[in-house]
Symmetry: C2
Subunit: 456 residues, 2 copies
């Protein structure tokens, strides 16, 4: 009896905390779903600002727009952080066709980010189809020299998490040109990183690595339907020719910015919790999912805290990173400054997997913290948030190296992500208001719990 | 030591069963994602057959198409079950406008299923806006007589499960006309059951109940944007007028069919496990989500079992029910026949919540069975299926009354469902191939486990 009485106060405190947390999460979700600017911000960012490739006018507009919106929230501080970014410009729309016994069949392609242009008159050459970079070695210079290498390994449909299939495929896009150049290829085309069969070519970063500039070759993505067609036609006639023309260009690096806003912590202003996404997008669309969604959700975390009058113990900072897509300079610069000024980051959360129904989080932390965080799962159950796993979190928060930092990435439903990723259909209409808002609420809930109960 | 040895064989058996089940589920999911007809069936059903309102030519085509496809699967039996269904025809596209100080503003409406027509010249009347049926009583006959009652209680955005918001709202659509007629209203218009603001009016069943025919009044849905506009204009001018015209008509009941296919059970052919959806749709679109998705997923359960060469112990029967939308006669007929022939149904699973990413199931069963089923949850974890709850399952399997039957409903992500439900945008392009296939795999997995381990 004594024992029971002894434990009662502690039990009562825990129960009180649990009820308080349940109540707070309920208020957060309700605010996100009924009274948040999240969706209208995305509308503006997508439809008024538009695409935001690093160094573009759109990116500059995006900086100005989000800074202005953060200023309207009554935060303690809103500022820009200078960062130099690459400037790559697509130029004229690319053209490509299959030339098979004098029949031209136009196929949709787009230059990969960072690619060089073709000669003005384009490139016409025979095509050699491969399923991997490794296959180049088997084929050797004799079979590759003077040809266009066509990488056509599809994303695996059988993985439940589509990000896994992307990871298993993207080397073709990122390093395909560099490797094919070593075997004398004159260009490469890569099957779009898309699980669906459609007519959208998907761009994305590629790198020539340490290849001498004189050896650079043009590289482009072809739509999945285009890839299927080309592969079929190659089976019928391995000597067919492919024409491609693109006029993309590299310029000198230009000045751009990370956009930052913060609410000062009431107890530990020196401890910083970051929430963010990346403000830059590819140029083919307005990047509503990648990563307009992550930006407005991150802004909304601070919006919600202000609206429900939650005063965080630690400093909550939203960071809209510049240049995730083709360089990652925003994330690197942010870490550089944080290190130089001895800032103490205890937590970082990134949303960069699209504005789809949230399912959970991935975490980078030690086991003790993971166990602690996992204990919060029941609080998320009413909101159908169920997946807490260890794993990669976000490219922009990746450089952060504070000693005891816990990192997290929002995990939305991944099934439709690669239908839109880096393609012309990554547009506002592809984002559902409620799914976007539920993501923001889920992020705000994790930020709240972390702010309350910290790390071990 | 002895004790441990004693338990080892049982432990080993359980472990073996678990591994076998893990393996089977893995094979089921892989088959669904790489080698299923599910999506191409839906393409045909949506784009070749089209809308399938009970009694329509489309419904008849749907019966013929699905029967033929089931026949191609090599099942033990495929047949049609006769069922009489109502025939209601929309007729000419409806027109409506707000007439405010001689300015006409056209708004999108559609007749509710089962509504009568307006006079040929339409109806013009003042409008009284209410938020509930109950409010009619407060207003009384004086304020309602001769007017159009405008039901404008929106779906609540704050509920996580959108079905809950639908349930809290749909009385306005289903019984609104009947109740308003009692107060002398000349017609009703109902805010569409849609969480999004857009221009699609959403139809759906309504009933005059036991109202004398002479008192029937026309009733229509108005798009959510239209409802917002009308409400705003009413605040400015409560005497504005509304014009509506619709020419829908009732005909005598016609003969239609449930489409049924089955694999005979190898051990208990007399025990029947049903999986199904409803083949009829509303007439405004092809009903890809409601419930083309449920039909092709159910067909795919049997397709997958055939492809992986799984021979069920119990009889597995797919039933594509006719007339869920405006009568439920297919479900009632199926139960009537089952009862008359003393069939023993042990399990029924319906998919009628759209072809979105599956999240879990709802179950109607006793606690012992629910506990047993819940123990299967870990097997579903790799597929992100996490929500096993008690609750309503499906309108078509609802009439089934076998003594010991367990019923289940597939629960897909619900956020986007009411963007499309009963509206002109419930079309094939709104369904994602992978999400649809994951639903089929999830259903097949539950059917498999139930077939293996039965009920208590």
């Amino acid at each position: 009896m004594k024992k029971i009485l002894f434990f009662l106060p502690l039990f009562s405190v825990l129960l009180h905390a649990q009820n308080k947390d349940e109540q707070t999460l309920s208020t957060i979700y309700k605010t996100a779903l009924t009274n948040s600017k999240c969706y209208s911000w995305l509308d503006d960012l997508s439809n008024k600002v538009g695409s935001r490739l690093s160094g573009s006018e759109g990116a500059a507009k995006g900086v100005a727009y989000t800074k202005q919106q953060l200023e309207s929230l009554g935060l303690d501080k809103v500022y820009l952080q200078e960062v130099m970014v690459p400037k790559w410009v697509r130029g004229e729309k690319e053209t490509a066709y299959i030339l098979d016994k004098k029949t031209k069949t136009i196929v949709p392609i787009c230059a990969l980010g960072g690619s060089i242009a073709t000669p003005k008159s384009g490139i016409t050459a025979e095509v050699i189809e491969v399923k991997s970079i490794k296959e180049l070695e088997t084929l050797g210079v004799d079979k590759i020299k003077g040809k266009i290498v066509f990488y056509n390994r599809p994303m695996e449909p059988e993985n439940i998490e589509t990000g896994k299939s992307y990871g298993n495929c993207v080397d073709q896009r990122y390093a395909g040109a560099k490797e094919a150049a070593k075997f004398g290829a004159v260009a490469t085309i890569v099957r779009s990183m898309n699980l669906r069969l459609d007519d959208f070519p998907h761009t994305g970063a590629q790198s020539y690595g340490d290849l001498p500039k004189s050896q650079y070759i043009p590289t482009a993505a072809i739509s999945t339907n285009g890839a299927e067609l080309l592969s079929k036609k190659l089976k019928e006639n391995s000597r067919l020719q492919f024409f491609m023309k693109q006029s993309c260009q590299h310029y000198d690096d230009v000045l751009s910015y990370n956009v930052i806003g913060e609410i000062k912590g009431s107890e530990h202003p020196e401890k910083i919790m970051v929430v963010g996404g990346h403000l830059d997008s590819w140029d083919l669309a307005d990047g509503s999912h990648d990563d307009g969604a992550g930006c407005v959700q991150s802004m909304s975390v601070l919006e919600i805290f202000k609206k429900i009058n939650y005063k965080p113990k630690n400093t909550i900072r939203v960071v809209l990173f510049m240049n995730e897509e083709n360089g990652g300079n925003g994330g690197k610069k942010y870490e550089e400054v944080a290190k130089n000024t001895n800032e103490n980051h205890i937590f970082a959360l990134e949303s960069d997997s699209g504005g789809f129904s949230p399912r959970g989080f991935s975490f980078e932390c030690d086991d003790a913290n993971f166990t602690k965080i996992t204990n919060w799962k029941p609080l998320f159950e009413p909101y159908l948030i169920h997946s807490f796993v260890k794993g990669g979190t976000g490219a922009d928060i990746n450089p952060l190296t504070s000693k005891k930092i816990v990192k997290a990435g929002l995990k939305p439903d991944s099934q439709r992500y690669f239908d839109h990723h880096h393609a012309a259909n990554d547009t506002f209409d592809a984002v559902n208001k409620r799914e976007l808002e539920l993501g923001a609420a889920t992020m705000a809930s994790l930020m709240y719990l972390f702010d309350q109960y910290g790390i071990d």
